[in-house]
């Protein structure tokens, strides 16, 4: 029932989301993501990428349109069922844009342990996973530190470790490289490549074209009118300067660069 076997991981149909009844966030977006795909959601700030990710993560529900994950409808009612909730939360991980909002545990160790513990893993397994994540993200010495002492890069690493600790099949990342130092950026890309090799599904919302180029085969461009403007191979999107400029993804200086 849960294996992808040809069925899309996510199926979004004409989804509309409005904030406070006044501000449109998504104006009729349709999308289909298959298992094992790496997709970059490109668009300028405010186009609705974050909103779309939260809709896919079952944290926001659209005003109209449907959302299906692994073939099941994603609604408040379906998520209220404990079995579905647990399975869904284990399989779909979301890395938030605001690091502070997702580091709410007293220490780094507990932060990473939170997910597995919530989902009922036995204590030894929890501990083992935490140690592995600390090593993977190279943050072992931070295990006992409190979140408010960390730098942005460190926070981002902890957050990623916390999301990966439950071994999700799908990873949704919201602006993962904004404000990151280069070395952490490199580490992030390496990890995403590793996850790709494992067959994970990745959706990265970003306006960092370089990241999209490195990590995603497919690019979905969302315009400032909160609609999908492009859905196709990444190289094709990145070569279309006109489209990128109109979508407010590049500025004038980029336009006059020689083609790489």
């Amino acid at each position: 029932m849960w294996s992808a076997d040809g069925r899309p991981v996510f199926e979004v149909n004409e989804v509309r989301v409005t904030y406070l009844g006044r501000f449109p966030a998504l104006a009729g977006v349709s999308l289909r993501v298959a298992s094992g795909e790496q997709v970059a959601l490109l668009g300028p700030n405010g186009c609705g990428k974050s909103t779309l990710l939260k809709v896919l993560a079952g944290l926001l529900f659209p005003d109209s349109g449907t959302v299906h994950a692994f073939g099941h409808p994603l609604t408040p009612a379906s998520l209220a069922r404990p079995a579905f909730f647990r399975e869904f939360r284990r399989r779909v991980g979301l890395l938030f844009q605001n690091s502070d909002a997702q580091l709410f545990n007293p220490t780094v160790f507990e932060e990473i342990a939170f997910g597995p513990a919530q989902l009922g893993f036995p204590p030894e397994e929890v501990e083992g996973r935490v140690r592995d994540m600390l090593r993977l993200l190279e943050i072992e010495e931070l295990a006992d530190r409190a979140p408010f002492q960390l730098s942005e890069g460190q926070k981002r690493r902890v957050a990623l470790a916390a999301v990966l600790a439950v071994d999700p099949d799908v990873l949704l990342l919201d602006e993962p490289t904004t404000g990151l130092d280069p070395r952490t950026n490199d580490r992030l890309v390496e990890i995403l490549w590793g996850l790709r090799r494992l067959g994970k599904t990745l959706l990265v919302a970003t306006h960092d074209l370089e990241l999209a180029r490195l990590v995603a085969d497919r690019a979905v461009i969302i315009g400032e009118d909160h609609r999908v403007w492009f859905d196709g191979p990444t190289p094709e999107a990145l070569a279309n300067r006109d489209l990128l400029y109109r979508a407010n993804l590049v500025g004038r200086s980029w336009m006059v660069r020689p083609v790489p």
């Binding site: 944290l59 007293p106 342990a113 939170f114 409190a146 408010f148």
Partner: protein
């Protein structure tokens, strides 16, 4: 990884930096605008100093909690129970001797917690004793309560009057007053010392774990954890706003502008709180939070240390009982 600040777990923090003008509560008055300038900088400085004090305390507590002393090794539940018992004993004592004994015990405990005794005694001892003393000083005189005079301060004479008021024949420091005042001072100092000891040798989060083990409901514990955690995030909002404001104010009516800053800061804080609350809730949901809390990690504590602390506490309580 290459982040140099990580190497030493010291108090130097890469995130929050100290503006260079801190420590001087009023700026040097420029020509002609002295009054206005002082008002403006005073309230900004006070706010920022206050915010920094919070952070300093948190970092200080983390540092002390990491040291290796008897108190640090004892379990938080035992610490909470022992210290609470001692504070209660100080509250219930009715004589100077038991209170002095308790305070002495505090100092001993501070030494056992590897605290710097001089700064500890200064901050929780002298400061508290001094300010409490100031407050209760008039209460020690015969003006407030008649009693056995110890030191006669002023002699008015048998029929002295001050207008319509009849004055007492003399104003003196009474024995009862002095004893009572000293008791209040000692109680205050003991309580502050014990609370400080408890929180700096335990750290806030371990403290909450101890309270939970003693029966505090999980939801309440989580509430406190989240509150404490996000105080620091909100503090940066205040620091940013106040510092930015100061850089932009060029003159004019500082009072009004300053008040508007306060209101704006409060509003910004409120918005930020609401937004953060929404996001945190979503983040918790995203990681499988279902309303129940499952705490995972416990800092290992030494049974020997806990036992030693308990024994020491009982000894002090016994002494208080004997001496009362």
């Amino acid at each position: 990884m290459g982040d140099p600040a990580v190497a030493s777990p010291s108090a130097s923090d890469p995130v929050l930096t100290l503006p260079p003008w801190l420590g001087r509560p009023s700026a040097p008055s420029g020509p002609g605008t002295s009054e206005a300038r002082r008002v403006r900088l005073d309230f900004v400085a006070r706010t920022l100093v206050g915010a920094l004090e919070v952070v300093r305390r948190a970092l200080y507590a983390e540092e002390i909690a990491r040291r290796d002393g008897l108190l640090q090794r004892a379990s938080p539940e035992v610490k909470i129970l022992c210290f609470l018992a001692l504070i209660l004993a100080a509250g219930l004592s009715r004589g100077l001797a038991p209170l002095a004994l308790l305070y002495g015990g505090c100092v001993l405990l501070a030494a056992l917690g590897r605290l710097d005794l001089r700064s500890f005694l200064g901050r929780t001892g002298l400061v508290v004793l001094f300010f409490t003393g100031l407050i209760v000083l008039p209460g020690m005189t015969s003006l407030v309560h008649p009693g056995e005079p110890l030191v006669v301060l002023v002699r008015f004479g048998p029929d002295a009057r001050l207008g319509p008021l009849a004055l007492p024949s003399e104003l003196s420091l009474t024995r009862q007053g002095l004893t009572g005042g000293l008791m209040v001072m000692l109680r205050a100092a003991t309580s502050v010392s014990l609370v400080t000891l408890l929180t700096v040798t335990t750290g806030w989060f371990e403290l909450l774990r101890g309270l939970r083990a003693l029966g505090l409901p999980a939801a309440v514990g989580l509430l406190f954890t989240l509150t404490y955690r996000y105080i620091f995030v909100l503090l940066t909002v205040v620091q940013d706003m106040y510092a930015a404001w100061q850089a932009r104010v060029l003159g004019g009516r500082a009072g009004d502008a300053g008040r508007r800053l306060g209101a704006a800061a409060a509003y910004a804080l409120f918005l930020r709180s609401e937004a953060l609350a929404r996001e945190i809730h979503q983040a918790m949901l995203a990681r499988g939070f279902q309303g129940r809390v499952a705490f995972v990690q416990r800092r290992p504590s030494s049974v020997w240390a806990s036992g030693a602390l308990a024994a020491l506490t009982l000894l002090m309580l016994g002494g208080v009982y004997v001496v009362r």
